[in-house]
Assembly symmetry: C2
């Protein structure tokens, strides 16, 4: 089962595709989709749409887990983040992929056991949970992996694994 | 030339397709795309995506004019409006349709000559400019027509019309 984690953004949209369960969870692909700030917004949304479509085609994830936009944080960039999240969610749901949103607090709570964890703590827990020697960089990628790990932690393990 | 005006929203997305120029401008289609508030957001975005695609296919507008989301107005609904606007803009731009955003003030200024015009004043000017006996209802439709009229007012007339 592949889970595609998304840290949404218009200038930078982080993604991580995780596979496995529990201690065997591994990242099979990760990166950042960037669009040019000087380009018109509609063209940037199309570029993002095409890259997300490519990921959905290539990996056929069963779930897309995406961090919920919080408008209180930064009103100036919130519009672009909301627009980007809308495009990503529509593309995934249109292919039949389940889409689940998690708040930043839910992600931190699931990954670090503390809804007020710092970026550094989240990055370090993601590193440990994925068995990596170094933290995922840039932070967008690590944050995308964190939301995918959050979804995996919420999902019940298959019955066979519980025996 | 068809101009597709959009008053974006996730629960209610108004649209108006206008044709012609100046005193001959007419509405050829108009309506509201609604999605069910109790449905999951990703499914609602897909429903909106499909309806917008249908309009783009049927009318092949050369321009999509969309009202710019202002987050200051209502933070609670702004997220859905931003997501909906993102989906609409991406769909249009992906088909090669030009996409132009206008602020609410720009729309009121263009249609009423007053950036602080009331909803009622905008509705009445839209009615007059489109040669209708009654105002377009509901307000989402009238607002979508207003942003299309705003675009038409900004666009230079073809050279032949200026002779």
């Amino acid at each position: 089962m592949f889970v595609l984690g998304i840290d949404p953004g218009l200038s930078r949209c982080g993604y991580s595709i995780l596979s496995g369960r529990g201690a065997s969870t591994r990242a099979v692909a990760a990166g950042v989709i960037t669009t040019e700030p000087h380009e018109p917004v509609p063209q940037r949304l199309v570029a993002l749409q095409q890259e997300i479509r490519r990921l959905l085609d290539e990996f056929a994830p069963s779930v897309l887990a995406i961090e919920r936009v919080l408008f209180q944080i930064n009103v100036r960039t919130a519009m672009g983040v909301g627009q980007a999240a809308g495009v990503v969610m529509a593309e995934a749901a249109a292919t039949g992929c389940e889409v689940v949103e998690y708040s930043p607090n839910q992600v931190k709570q699931a990954v670090c056991g503390d809804g007020a964890a710092t970026k550094q703590q989240v990055g370090e827990m993601v590193r440990m949970l994925l068995g990596l020697s170094e933290q995922l960089r840039p932070a967008d990628v690590s944050d995308a992996a964190a939301v995918a790990l959050c979804h995996m932690a919420q999902s019940p393990a298959p019955a066979v694994a519980r025996r």
